[in-house]
Assembly symmetry: C2
Homo-oligomer: 431 residues x 2
């Protein structure tokens, strides 16, 4: 029957209506939690100038970006591409609209981003991210870092997931530590090795560190620090016991203490651990970094992460806008929850009432009933096909919770019966 390949391009999410309803519900829950916590939503364009999007790019970004071109160029347009995250457009937005914004600016962004990665299972090229950021002008207190983590946690909490585990570090600790060892020139390489340590056997990490020729003593010291993890008190105590002089190191410890204390105050204590192996790749983070895992599904990877960045707008503006942000990768999360059967109980029929007038004469009654149900927030579908009642009922059973058959009698008496299409129970409907 098909005369053309109609599958979506690989790496693009396309859901059937019942699954889309679940996805939308999760998105709505995130939106609501973000709103309650005082984040104002913005939407930047999906298409932006390539020079903006690549201003701070490195690593794989440039390879993965989608450029856009008009089929027929009718005018001189700047090079354009699709945004690959929400953070770079936010930096542009803040630089552009600075004078019309109130700082600290608390913003949420929920939308699709695009990365032309190699297609593979569980990797999306077009995916929803739910971001929140708090951005100050010139300064921003550290306690805001905890607000980002708490808000993301509250959003995830609404998903009824198995136990969550939030792992937190502060990059200043490792940076200061490496400075103390006179290894600051190796910071990027060492961060990269630590960032990948969890995915490889320990001996690989050791040989990678050794390959830097920084001395066995330093390798051992780095291994010791990167393996520090545990409760706030333990971790802070162990770090302080290292008797490091470096100021940045101690600033990092103070900040980590502040963030963890605030999160404990927010009631997140049981889900927290300090963890010096958390790095967050080669990104722009400068202080707090965090990742969130499902305790019993560590293989899924982090489902919400982020951190503090002091210099985000530095490519666009000379004024400092320190910020802290985090993100839930909703498309990927939805996919892994589905794969692990963690969504099952959330799928409900998308329509509340299927109204089935037996003939054209009862249509007016059906329509009036639908209006009354709408006022109560109940959704309706009036089935108007020229099929027999049995076919209509089986059609209704696929999309609705209840069916209401409307014949002459019902039109006259205005007494309606709603039949639960799963349990078969019939209850009077008083709209």
């Amino acid at each position: 029957m098909k005369s053309i390949n109609t599958s979506p391009i690989s790496g693009m999410q396309e859901l059937l209506p019942p699954e889309q309803a679940v996805f939308n519900q999760l998105k709505k829950q995130v939106e609501e939690v973000f709103r309650l916590h005082g984040f104002q939503n913005i939407e930047t364009p999906i298409i932006d100038r390539t020079e903006i999007l690549l201003a701070k790019a490195g690593g794989d970004t440039e390879k993965q970006i989608y450029k856009v071109v008009k089929t027929k160029e009718t005018e001189q347009d700047a090079d354009q591409a699709l945004r690959y995250d929400h953070t770079v457009p936010l930096a542009r937005f803040i630089t552009e609209h600075e004078n019309n914004l109130t700082f600290p600016l608390k913003v949420s962004q929920i939308g699709r981003n695009f990365r032309g990665e190699r297609a593979q299972k569980g990797r999306f090229r077009e995916f929803y991210q739910c971001d929140i950021d708090i951005v100050g002008r010139n300064t921003l207190p550290t306690i805001y870092d905890a607000e980002i983590i708490t808000t993301l946690y509250r959003a995830l909490e609404t998903f009824n997931l198995p136990a969550l585990s939030i792992r937190i570090s502060n990059r200043k600790i490792l940076s200061g530590f490496l400075s103390e060892l006179n290894l600051q020139a190796y910071t990027a390489e060492i961060f990269n090795i630590i960032d990948h340590a969890e995915k490889v056997p320990e001996k690989v990490t050791i040989s990678r560190l050794q390959a830097l020729s920084i001395g066995d003593d330093n390798v051992n010291k780095i291994l010791t620090v990167m393996q520090i993890r545990g409760s706030r008190e333990q971790t802070i105590a162990r770090l302080r016991a290292l008797s490091i002089q470096n100021e940045v190191f101690h600033q990092g410890i103070e900040e980590l203490d502040t963030v963890l204390s605030s999160l404990e105050q927010h009631g997140l204590g049981p889900h927290l651990s300090a963890d010096l192996s958390i790095i967050r790749g080669l990104d722009y983070y400068t202080g707090t970094v965090f990742e969130t895992f499902l305790k019993d599904y560590q293989a899924i990877g982090s489902i919400a992460s982020g951190g503090r960045y002091e210099n985000l707008t530095s490519f666009f503006s000379s004024r400092p806008f320190p910020g802290v942000g985090g993100s839930i990768g909703l498309t990927r999360l939805f996919h892994v929850l589905k794969e692990n059967n963690l969504l099952k109980n959330q799928i409900t029929p998308p329509i509340d009432y299927a109204l089935i007038p037996l003939s054209a004469k009862e249509y007016e009654t059906a329509y009036a009933l639908s209006q009354k149900l709408h006022q109560k927030g109940q959704s309706t579908d009036i089935i108007l096909t020229e099929k027999d009642l049995k076919t209509k009922l089986s059609q209704a059973a696929k999309t609705a919770t209840y069916a209401v058959v409307i014949g002459e009698q019902e039109a006259k008496t205005q007494n309606f019966v709603a039949k639960n299409l799963t349990t078969r129970a019939e209850i009077p409907l008083a709209p």
Copy 2:
């Protein structure tokens, strides 16, 4: 201060948070009305195969489409482009997922589409469209056409706009009429002239029709029919009085009558007119066509439109999926409402309560209060900057409705006062 052009690309909507909140609210209202009327939401990918997107294209579409290319092609990918409407991806979706869908399928799609038009005021290259469609397998009763129009009307009704006017025609009437005159070969050209008639003086329309060399008598007959407009009874009567034999012509009249009658039953009578000059461009419509105007702002153009299409999936599949659909161009509508000051009273501060602890000691109280307010659906922003109280209050006044100052006394007594930041009124806050 800026070191780079940070303005969004021309033709892209970028709103500040208070305006974005209004835009989001309108979008949410549309979503809710679509949901209540039994439409199930789907989301097709923004990036699709170019051969799909251009399968039925003609006119300007090909010129306006945005192609996407990865900076570094690492594999053989099909030609890809950004969707320019929701209808073509819907046709692909239905062909692809036919066996997993329930027909008639009632779907909504709300998202951004992309057209690389020449940049000009009020024209967007990236814009939200809110579409609903009802698609049958093999057949679909005409009465569903009225459901599309009613649902779009109910969505617009929530915007508190000035009076709306819905102008409806059925293409079969003019098609049948032209067949009767043996002018079927000129249908596309004549439709095009009628479609543009409202934007040019009548003599231009006449000379365009004369240029077709179809005879003055036929030109006059066409002018007579295309100017027929009015109430259902009047219009139907005038059309029948033309004593045309053609069957399609009469089928069109029947369908127009059915749709208008059903809309009257839905209470839309006062806003309706039959109008034979409505064509809807060179699109794929085959029956009902409609446009919606703000009565006192006709120059704005149609704000919601659509129609019946019998052959949408014909490029992808041999099975007929007749459908009817319509769309609200939300980005453009929002823009013209703003330009005409029709949004003014909808802008409210995005945050309900700004909570201002006087020192770190009161933070815990502020946090506990925020949790209680969240449970009541009230949004909060705890202001944690190291500024003086006056600065914090003026910051709060820019984003919140109320401010709650929390000092030692409030922390002890748990008695809070909410200050309305506009009226200055103070009321006790019992969360």
